[in-house]
Symmetry: C2
DNA sequence: CTGTTAGCGCTTTCAA
DNA sequence: TTGAAAGCGCTAACAG
């Protein structure tokens, strides 16, 4: 491996001079700089980031902790973060939280030991106290922490989150305006973040429309299989349901499968809505009506913010950044079948 | 930040002793070790991985370069690699190749500068000479390189690849055995890796069965939209086609959408096959008949092999590891409609 | 069993 | 404009 010494020797100068020349310090004569640059590239010299980090306590690396790597939801975030970071000369450590606060804490310890300049945390579950404690600890070591999405939120830690409340409300209004009164609600587990936020918003909106029926609310894990099973049960118990609103797209796709099993036409006999706007939602037939969460933009903005903060610790970056979601018109929403019958 | 010196001072010993104690060297008295451990954890001491790396030239980090992060195909690999690596105390740098050899080369340079112990490369496209050169360079620096999947393959570089030839042949046999004679083939672009390997295998099998018709072969990008467009064209031009075999699941899902547009029942009037066994293939209705590539196992084995190699450079790890794919019985394969008519 | 010493590759004063 | 020297935090010889 060729080091700064080798370059210095061959150029007939000291390592210090090479360092300054290659780092664009102005106090080096153009002539020597040229010579050093030539020799460096000739020797294939690549400065050791490790040594640089040890000396400067700046590593140009970031940690990215995602809630659960098997969930395609996080893919766009990883993509955006990696893309922007690498364009700024940063490398990304990827860590899977495996839905557990403990794993997040151990990941953060590892990242801190490796000297990352910052950590981006994006979880889909509520973190426990241990995590908050660790966030404090590494912050006090000078490591910048930023959270994406709002399940994990800490005092003084900047957050980039999706604005989705208006869209959730609008979605309910849309369903109601089509004449639906018996509306099933497939939520995530009772103590989950999304049940307490997103689904609760929908619940309140249903209530305002006078169509909330807790018997028609069910709770399931957020994957296709669970959604299918849960929707099947719900629709079997309550055949009067004409629309099912789901906590996310995976559950909604499960619900679509269930409806198909039962022989209900979508959207002729039953309407279905999702949430998130994952890739699959626009690929399946009929296309799912959903709300698209701007994951790419969130990743981009989050990464840009934390790098800005790292490189300019005095510049206060926004404590909270809201990025709007967008309604996605699919083909799973139709006029209530009862309303149609009434017309006949 | 608390360093080894702080611990040493508080324990009344030298840094060297602390280092040995914490690294489980046998030459330390149980008593001192206990004391040091206690003080270390009390002070919240976390050894600097950076300093350790500089000193030992072992970083316990790996680079993972994936062909294209937006493709869900790679998700299971990332998951497996991260999971296994972190269980062994390694952290993962994730890099997106963005379908370009140049980006891969610059990623490798960055990874090498950061002192990674190894690099896992998994690409879906043919690399150019520059990449091979860079692989040689970092190998000569002692960085271990391993490739996953076979698009990128270099002399002397261990590879973990899927065994899929038998399954591709079996798939063709299956289709033919159902009576199909007019079989469309949706391949990836002509000069792409999969066209030259996987699709070519299918092509030869079709030929052996005497049903290869180059007019029924088309080439498209490997995504749902392209697949849909291409399938629509093909089926419009050749309504006699009764089965479409696709280079991968995305294209197959596109083909399913196209068939539905045209009003063809799957599998009643047209059969469709995919390849890869991505999550979506078993979620859509009807489930796609495909071949599942064991991405998780590949990632696991690849990661295990490279770590073994790193930690024991003399132990020769297998130069080529083949992991079998599996046929996935879906609902998109049916008896040829012509055959059925004959029966009537 | 523990201390001393040297040095990994780099940057950053301070002198010259 | 460049050189000399110190040191980031750690480990590995070698002494004692």
């Amino acid at each position: 491996m060729v080091t700064i010494k080798d370059v210095a020797q061959k150029a007939g100068v000291t390592p210090a001079t090479v360092s300054m020349a290659l780092n664009g310090k102005p106090s080096i004569s153009v002539e020597t700089r040229r010579r050093i640059e030539r020799i460096a590239s000739q020797l294939g010299y690549v400065p050791s980031a490790t040594a640089k980090t040890l000396r400067t306590s700046r590593s140009h690396t970031l940690g990215l902790i995602v809630g659960n790597l098997t969930n395609g939801f996080f893919l766009d975030i990883i993509y955006a973060v990696e893309e922007y970071a690498s364009s700024r000369g940063y490398s990304i450590f990827i860590c899977d939280a495996e839905r557990s606060s403990d794993k997040v804490v151990s990941s953060m310890k590892a990242l801190a030991a490796r000297g990352v300049d910052g950590v981006i945390i994006t979880l889909g579950f509520y973190p426990d106290g241990k995590l908050e404690e660790e966030v404090r600890r590494i912050s006090s070591e000078g490591i910048k922490v930023l959270t994406l999405t709002s399940a994990a939120q800490f005092d003084g830690v900047p957050i980039v989150r999706q604005g989705e409340t208006d869209e959730a409300l609008a979605l309910v209004e849309k369903v109601c305006s089509l004449g639906h009164r018996r509306i099933g609600l497939l939520s995530s587990p009772r103590d989950s973040w999304l049940n307490r936020t997103r689904v609760n918003t929908m619940r309140r909106a249903l209530e305002l429309n006078g169509v909330l029926d807790e018997d028609l609310v069910d709770y399931c894990e957020m994957n296709v299989d669970a959604g299918q099973k849960c929707a099947f049960d719900l629709l079997s118990r309550h055949p009067e349901i004409t629309a099912v609103m789901c906590v996310n797209d995976q559950v909604a796709i499960g619900a679509m499968n269930a409806a198909r099993c039962i022989g209900l036409d979508i959207p002729g006999e039953i309407s279905i809505t999702g949430f998130d706007g994952i890739e699959m939602s626009r690929i399946i037939t009929p296309h799912l009506t959903t709300v698209h969460i701007p994951r790419y933009e969130m990743g981009l903005v989050g990464c840009r913010n934390i790098i800005e903060w790292i490189e300019n610790p005095d510049a206060r970056i926004p404590g909270e950044t809201l990025i709007s979601s967008t309604f996605v018109e699919g083909q799973t929403l139709g006029i209530c079948r009862d309303a149609k019958e009434d017309k006949k």
